[in-house]
């Protein structure tokens, strides 16, 4: 058989390594029937095509053609190899095509954004709710204890409320039906935090931190009960735990994306203090509060009343602060706004006093 001109039989230059030494030998590859031929210098090899492994295309990197136990070839001529392989009828995989096309890259980008947004909007709250509702009481206790401990150390001061009022509120809260879920400990933790302003928030274990500043807003204990009923709504639906789980998941995903894993659960106190519940969560808690108040012979409007007072108090505090220190850099208004993420107070009043 005579050697034909190069355009008749496609050939590709390659470097052959036998796998025993690092010596490189120049060969040419060609296809003969069902075999791959390697020829050059002292090398004369015939590899059955079905036993040959050809590495997938990866950018413009050399393709590696190997035959188990017999070494491998490195091919830099991508186009030449494609032409050679075209004879064998080997197609490209879908992944190969995807990885090398700009339209696919852009489509992937869009799909990533869409799936991340969908996961954040739907899968994350759903997963967090399911997990939170199934967590054993002991885990909630631990979370509650450690959160309160951290808050006590950094933000909260002992309550100055007189013992009789504390007792009265605690007893009124204990009488609130429906009775407590056995998994949780229903109690009020009285604290003071002048920097924070009027506020109350639920801990994962069922405790409600009630700040003096809120109690002092009203003489009507029933309005405090309305706030407690709202917070109990957050507790029953495990909102605090759900928020912790959600932001832990977001933190984990971010850490993985940025490639830096740092402590995750340490952020729990910050999350609970910020208490940026979603509007859905607030509505759930409001609905719960309305039902609870009605079941206890109280008007759901009470919650709307105390919300108005809260809003007024916070507005006043903000104005005073701005008057005292007009936009001083470095010292931001640390008062977390109990109302910031809450649906507009007007709207809530309408829903609460609807009946």
């Amino acid at each position: 058989m005579s050697t034909s001109p190069s355009d008749a039989v496609p050939q590709v230059a390659a470097a052959y390594y036998d796998g025993h030494t690092a010596a490189s030998r120049a060969v040419t590859l060609s296809i003969d029937g069902g075999d791959l031929l390697l020829q050059g210098g002292t090398v004369e090899l015939r590899w059955p095509l079905h036993e040959v492994r050809i590495s997938e295309r990866l950018g413009n990197t050399p393709r590696l053609i190997s035959h188990p136990g017999d070494g491998h070839c490195e091919v830099n001529d991508q186009a030449g190899l494609d032409k050679l392989l075209a004879q064998t009828g080997a197609g490209r995989s879908w992944l190969d095509a995807m990885q090398h096309s700009l339209p696919w890259a852009l489509a992937a980008l869009v799909l990533i954004v869409v799936s991340v947004a969908a996961a954040y909007r739907y899968a994350l709250p759903w997963g967090a709710e399911n997990l939170a509702m199934r967590l054993p009481g002991s885990v909630l206790q631990k979370m509650g204890d450690s959160t309160l401990e951290t808050l006590d150390r950094f933000m909260l001061k002992p309550s100055k409320l007189d013992a009789a009022r504390q007792q009265a509120l605690s007893e009124a809260y204990a009488r609130l039906t429906p009775p407590a879920d056995a998994q949780l400990k229903y109690r009020i933790v009285f604290r003071s935090a002048p920097d924070v302003g009027a506020n109350a928030f639920a801990l994962p274990d069922g405790s409600i931190v009630m700040l003096d500043e809120l109690v002092e807003l009203t003489q009507d204990d029933n309005e405090i009960i309305a706030v407690l009923a709202h917070e109990r709504g957050h507790i029953e639906r495990r909102h605090a735990m759900r928020m912790v789980l959600q932001s832990s998941a977001v933190g984990l995903a971010l850490a993985w994306y940025v490639g830096d894993v740092s402590s995750l659960l340490a952020t729990a106190p910050a999350i609970i203090m910020q208490a940026k519940y979603s509007r859905d969560m607030e509505r759930e808690a409001d609905d719960y509060a309305a039902q609870t108040l009605q079941a206890n012979g109280l008007s759901p409007c009470l919650l709307a009343d105390i919300l108005d007072k809260l809003e007024a108090a916070h507005r006043k505090a903000q104005q005073e602060e701005e008057k005292q220190a007009p936009a001083e850099p470095g010292k931001r208004n640390v008062a977390m706004d109990y109302l910031a993420s809450h649906p507009a107070t007007q709207e809530r009043r309408r829903l609460l006093c609807a009946e």
Binding site: T21, A22, L58, G59, L102, A108, L111, V258
Partner: protein
């Protein structure tokens, strides 16, 4: 550099390109998200293959052979350990400490297995790399020296670092040829002390500037501008120092490494490392991470192309490790080198 007869400098070449890698990266990211992270093992193999095959020395490229399933197994172990570690501290501090101690005890072994996996699955010119380190030395390097460093208030940290590098390099093989690290503990100490001196000096300088430009009265009269800028100053200092330290460390380690009769050289420039580091950081920030693949390509190119091998004669003299070669063919290898906890 002293030119000996028959000795030629061969620089590493890196041919990876940003847009090309971006396309691979984004498809990998999509598939990883859609499979809830499972595909990340396959993505890692593609990423390493892209970088290895784009790395050339003397006309030949490197290759990576890790099996995604082994990597997936390693990742499941790593995630399990991370969860166990975090959860145990939530349950009780004592349990947390117990788990932390257990983790510290298995970590050297896992690191050793990871090195074995990584090197065994790397090849060049048809020969596999290998790792011959044993368990006893792994525990010395990854547990004993770090513990000594910690209890000596980090006076022994440079020594510990040098011992870890020595364990990694001296046990690495290309075919049957061993690597040898000549960088001494003394040279590590010099590098660490210089970095510390620069850090303290910069700190004092910034502090002095803050006091001088302040309202007087010592610490209380610090210029508020400096207090507001403190995190940025700190970030800038660590960025600069990190780049300089990184460059000198690479040059120290690779500039003192031999492979048989050949020796490596490394002249990565701290100034360029800083430039690429800062621009990468800004790029990633401004593009919400889409610049990550471009950043990886730029950084790899800078670090690799500053390195090379002073080749004595030529590179065809290496031969395969017979023992490795024997097991590599069989399924035994898959079981021997099955863990990779590195990410």
């Amino acid at each position: 550099m002293q030119e000996q007869f028959g000795q030629q400098n061969r620089s590493f070449e890196f041919t990876g390109r940003g847009w090309e890698y971006f396309k691979i990266w984004i498809v990998n990211l999509l598939l990883t998200i859609l499979t809830l992270g499972i595909y990340s093992a396959w993505a890692k193999v593609r990423r390493l293959q892209y970088f290895y095959r784009n790395t050339r020395l003397d006309g030949a490229s490197f290759d990576y052979h890790g099996l995604p399933k082994a990597i997936l197994k390693g990742r499941i172990i790593a995630v399990g350990l991370l969860i166990a570690y975090n959860a145990s501290f939530q349950i009780s501090p004592i349990l947390g400490i117990v788990v932390a101690v257990l983790l510290a005890l298995v970590m050297p072994w896992l690191l050793m297995r990871s090195l074995q996996f990584k090197l065994y699955n790397s090849s060049y010119r048809g020969l596999r790399f290998g790792f011959a380190g044993d368990k006893r030395d792994a525990y010395r390097a990854f547990l004993m020296y770090p513990v000594l460093a910690a209890i000596s208030v980090y006076l022994l940290a440079p020594l510990a670092h040098q011992r870890i590098k020595q364990y990694q390099f001296d046990n690495s093989r290309f075919g049957s040829t061993a690597f040898k690290l000549h960088a001494t503990a003394k040279s590590f100490y010099l590098l660490y002390l210089s970095a510390l001196a620069v850090l303290i000096g910069t700190g004092l300088l910034v502090f002095a500037l803050a006091i001088m430009s302040g309202t007087g009265g010592g610490v209380k009269g610090l210029n508020p501008l400096f207090i507001a800028l403190a995190p940025f100053i700190l970030f800038a200092v660590f960025m600069v120092l990190g780049s300089v330290f990184g460059a000198y460390m690479q040059n120290l380690v690779w500039g003192n490494t031999e492979l048989g009769p050949h020796h490596f050289y490394s002249h990565v420039s701290a100034r360029r490392l800083l430039w690429v580091g800062v621009t990468n950081f800004i790029g990633i920030l401004l593009t919400f991470g889409l610049f990550i693949p471009f950043a990886a390509i730029r950084m790899t190119r800078l670090k690799l192309e500053a390195m090379g091998l002073a080749v004595d004669g030529d590179l065809s003299g290496f031969i395969a490790d017979q023992q490795l070669q024997a097991t590599a063919a069989g399924e035994e290898a898959a079981e021997m080198f099955d863990v990779d906890i590195s990410f």
